[in-house]
Amino acid sequence: MHEDETTGHRSADSTSGTLASDSAPEPRGRRITRRGLMTAAAASAGAAILARLPAEAQSPAGRAAPATPPTQAPSPPQTTGAFDLASVPADPTRAPGPPTSTLGARSPFETPVRAPVGVISGSSYTPLQDLAGTLTPSDLVFERHHAGVALIDPAKYELLIHGLVELPTVFTLDDLQRLPNVSRTCFLECSGNGRGAFKTPKREMSPQAIDGLTSNGEWTGVPLAVLFHEVGVRRGASWFRAEGGDASRLSRSVPVEKGLADAMIAFAFNGEPLRPANGYPARLLLPGYEGNANIKWLRRIELADGPGMFRDETSKYTDPLANGTARQFSLVMDAKSIITAPAHPGRLTPNVWTQITGIAWTGRGKIVRVDVSTDGGASWLVTELQEPVLSLAHTRFRLPWKWDGKRAVLMSRAVDETGAIQPTLAEFRAKRGAGTDYHFSYIRAWVVEADGQVFFGADL
């Protein structure tokens, strides 16, 4: 986040973070300080403690606490506090653990990772099977780039709004942050999500491989309506054309109504500035719309009397249909769901309680119901939705279940507040066609074999 010119909030926050680690009250009966640890290093017991710390943390120079409150921002972090699997003690109640650190690392037992395709115009997939609840950790949010990750100096960032406006205006990042901001939690999904599962399915696909191009989190930014009001949108402006500041200059056209309704120029996600891969320092956010239109590294918005017919809304991101046409500007994401457990490569134990759980979402408001079937869609059970159910956001569903040891076919079926029901694969193929390219919103299936192994029900 940018420094607030009037209050100097940035350095104040950074400083307080450092101070808090040394001056905050310690838990009773377990007062452990860095200085104490260094002293203890002389003793054998202390040496054992120190051996469990990450290498960087053992450097006194790197870990020295300031004697007085610093007046400037502290020097760059010396350790991220990463934990080492080999340092996990047999009994953690018998010795103190590592001290506080600059960044919070995951347990060494948890290693969720994205699955990157590894090309500059390509994707990395979120490990949906590793996530609980509804939020996507920032470092696991999927990627889809068209010319790699644009790296942008926030001090040089500018957003130009022009075209059918009274006052063509350039906004800096500071401008965007000083205007009235809002936060909202919503999903962001690539409309190509599910293409691999539809076109080249394999029984060994995981939730990540099937539908890993979706994410959910809290975005903060300035409503586009505020910016539109500042520049004065002229009569006749029906679309706005957004351009990214990456090497693909990814461009999309969006109806002005969406801009006024709930669009946002977002500069933060899950409480911190955007990650570069997600559009740092600022991007367009269009809740409920296909990910591609949510232009990352946004640098220009042109108000116009029609769409620009750019490459990514003509030759790509259009939906060839079974009736010999192609649907264009299919911006809203359909109701959809996927069971994230049990799922491949999991294995079930018969006759013990477990739970069927997953996520559901729709670009048309709230999820009102998610049904689960264990018999391939012959019958359905209503699941419990995690409250609060947010509009245009991932919604967690759960159903306690005891597997009886016989082959089972699990499915989930989302219903949204417009009454839209997730279609079967057969319905989807009939309406959209086997050659359709985006918005693969049909019901996903998992097969539990008699030995308990779970596989993607690719053709069910």
Binding site: L167, M309, V332
Partner: protein, 224 residues
Amino acid sequence: MSAARTRCLTCLVVSALLAGCDRGPLADRATRTQRVSGSSRLPSNVHAAPALPVHFGVGRAATPAEIAGWDVDVTPDGHGLPPGSGTPTQGAQVFAAKCAACHGPAGEGQVGAAPAGVPPAPKLIGRDPRDGFPFGQDPKLVKTVGNYWPYATTVFDYVRRTMPLTAPGSLTNNEVYAVVAFLLAQNEIIDANAAMDSASLVAVKMPARDKFVPDDRKGGATFR
């Protein structure tokens, strides 16, 4: 934005209509906040937040030169097309030098393995199937500029802003006109000798132009 910048009456009215009121886009929220805080007995030194200004006066005026430098996209009405021209013959040379290494000598798409970190380059030239538009039915069909792209201006726009992949924006306007002419001629959409410029490019009608339909999905029980 300096206070000296003035607004016309139309702007004010249109902005007011777009925002739904004459007090700015956040007025509803501000009113709601005031109503809520006013509905209970507040301590004497706690007050409802003051009304927000109609405009915040944030940002600076963009100069015409700035806008011209950034606004280089090209749209079907010819907006943004620069001076210059090129022929298919000239374009063949540009294509061979700047494009064929990835897209293949005949625009057939990636030949052999793509370099590390680069996706396979798509096929650009090909008109099959000549009849109908069965892309939704047949997943094996390959979309090209000739059989799927609905606007010739989009080809110009995309090539000029994003190609070649490793040096986007490096082609001259004449080179872009020429390579677009080459692609259109190879796809049998324009004559093999037809020069492309800002007037002739806008006049090109692509084979797939009338195949695209607006989104008819509305939610509700009927899946479309």
